[in-house]
C-alpha cells in the first residue's frame, strides 16, 4: 500500500522504536520485519529509513555497532538506548490511544 510522506514521517520513528524494543537489528532487517509483520501492507521507499536511523542515533535514542550477523556478514546493528526505551514506551502508549480513538471514529462513521 502506498502511504503519503507526511503520514509516514511520524510512523517510521514509532516503527523503528517498536521493532528495536525486541532486539538489535540492521536497517534492511527492520524493513523486512516491518513488511512481514504488516503482511506487506507497510512498504516504504527503503532509503528513507537511513536518515531516520541517523537522526535517532544523533538524538540519543539509538546506538549502533558493526558486527557479524547470522549469515557471517558484517552489518550495522541498531539497538535502543535507555532514552530510546523510554521513548518507545511513550510512543507505544500514544499510538495505542490514538489508534483506539481513530477506530472509534472510523467505526462510528460506518455505523
Amino acid at each position: 500500500m502506498e502511504y503519503d510522506r507526511e503520514f509516514l514521517t511520524g510512523t517510521v520513528t514509532v516503527l523503528i522504536l517498536s521493532l528495536l524494543r525486541e532486539r538489535a537489528m540492521y536497517a534492511y532487517e527492520i524493513l523486512q520485519e516491518a513488511e512481514r509483520r504488516s503482511a506487506r501492507a507497510f512498504q516504504m521507499k527503503e532509503g528513507t529509513i537511513y536518515p531516520a536511523l541517523h537522526q535517532m542515533e544523533r538524538t540519543g535514542l539509538l546506538k549502533a555497532e558493526w558486527r557479524q550477523g547470522e549469515s557471517g556478514r558484517a552489518r550495522k546493528y541498531y539497538s535502543l538506548t535507555a532514552k530510546g526505551r523510554k521513548k518507545a514506551q511513550i510512543k507505544r502508549e500514544q499510538w495505542e490511544a490514538l489508534s483506539a480513538a481513530m477506530r472509534l471514529i472510523l467505526g462510528g462513521s460506518h455505523g
Binding site: A27, E46, G47, Y50, P51, A74, R75
Partner: protein, 256 residues
C-alpha cells in the same frame, strides 16, 4: 554476480551530497548502504527492483542534509570568520612591515603617516575579496551572493560611521578588487600575480593623478607590492579554509 557499478555510483553520490561531517561517518554510511544492496539486490535481475524500492538518491541526500544542516551552517560561518580574521591580521602585518620606519634622531621605530589609510584600504580589499570569493563559489547561489553583498555594504557603512574615510576606502578597494579579479580570477600563478601587480600599480598611480594627489611612481609601486601581498595571502587563506571545510563534509573532491 550482479554488476555493482550502478550501486556504487549511487552510494557514492549519496555519501558525497549528504554533507555528513567527518570522513569516518561518511565512510560508515557508504559501507552501510552497500550492505543494504548486498541484501536487497543479490541477483542482476533484482538490481533494478532494489533500486526502485530504494527511492530517489537526491531526496535521500536531501534528508541527510536536513539532519546535519545546523552543523553545516555553523561550521560555514566559523570557516568564514576564521578566513576573515586570518586575512585581516595578515593584511595589517603586511602594512606594518611596509610602513615601519626608523626615526634616526630617537632611533625608535614608528609607522609612516600613510599607515592608517593604507591599513584601512588593505582591510577593505580583504573584505571585498572575501565577498567576491563567496559570490564566485560554485554552484552559484543568488541568496548567498545577496547575503555576501549585503554584509560587505553593512561593513562599509559601519567603517564609515567610525572613520570618516570609510566609504572612500571601501570605494577604492571595490575598484581594486574588480580590477584584480579581471587580472587574476583568484589564480596564484606567477604570471597572473605579476599582471595583478601591474594593474594595481597603474590604477593607484592614475587614481592619485586624477585626484591631483601627489604620488610618485615609486610610492605607487610600493603600495602595489603591499596590495598584491595582501591579495595573494588572502586568496591562499580563503582557499585553505575552504579546502578544510569541504573536506570535512565531502570525501570525493571539492566544489571549487
Amino acid at each position: 554476480m550482479a554488476d555493482r557499478r550502478p550501486i556504487e555510483s549511487i552510494v557514492d553520490h549519496i555519501a558525497r551530497e549528504a554533507h555528513i561531517p567527518g570522513r569516518a561517518a561518511r565512510d560508515d554510511l557508504r559501507r552501510e548502504l552497500l550492505t543494504h544492496f548486498e541484501d536487497a539486490a543479490a541477483s542482476p535481475e533484482g538490481l533494478q527492483e532494489a533500486l526502485k524500492r530504494f527511492g530517489n538518491p537526491d531526496l535521500l541526500a536531501q534528508h541527510f542534509r536536513d539532519i546535519y544542516q545546523w552543523e553545516y551552517v555553523a561550521l560555514y560561518f566559523a570557516k568564514l570568520a576564521l578566513s576573515v580574521v586570518a586575512a585581516v591580521a595578515a593584511a595589517l602585518a603586511v602594512q606594518v612591515l611596509i610602513n615601519l620606519r626608523v626615526e634616526i634622531q630617537t632611533e625608535a621605530l614608528r609607522l609612516a603617516p600613510e599607515f592608517p589609510k593604507a591599513a584601512v584600504r588593505s582591510v577593505a580589499v580583504v573584505f571585498g575579496l572575501v565577498t567576491a570569493w563567496e559570490i564566485g563559489r560554485r554552484p552559484f547561489e543568488l541568496r548567498r551572493a545577496l547575503i555576501a553583498l549585503s554584509a560587505y555594504a553593512a561593513i562599509c557603512v559601519l567603517v564609515q560611521a567610525f572613520f570618516a574615510l570609510g566609504l572612500q576606502m571601501f570605494g577604492s578597494a571595490t575598484v581594486l578588487v574588480l580590477l584584480g579579479l579581471a587580472a587574476s580570477r583568484f589564480q596564484q600563478r606567477r604570471a597572473t600575480v605579476l599582471r595583478t601587480f601591474a594593474v594595481f600599480a597603474a590604477a593607484t598611480y592614475l587614481v592619485h593623478l586624477g585626484l591631483s594627489v601627489p604620488l610618485g611612481p615609486g610610492r605607487a609601486l610600493t603600495a602595489s607590492v603591499a596590495l598584491v601581498a595582501v591579495w595573494t595571502i588572502t586568496v591562499a587563506i580563503l582557499a585553505r579554509c575552504d579546502r578544510l571545510f569541504v573536506n570535512h563534509f565531502t570525501t570525493f573532491g571539492a566544489d571549487r
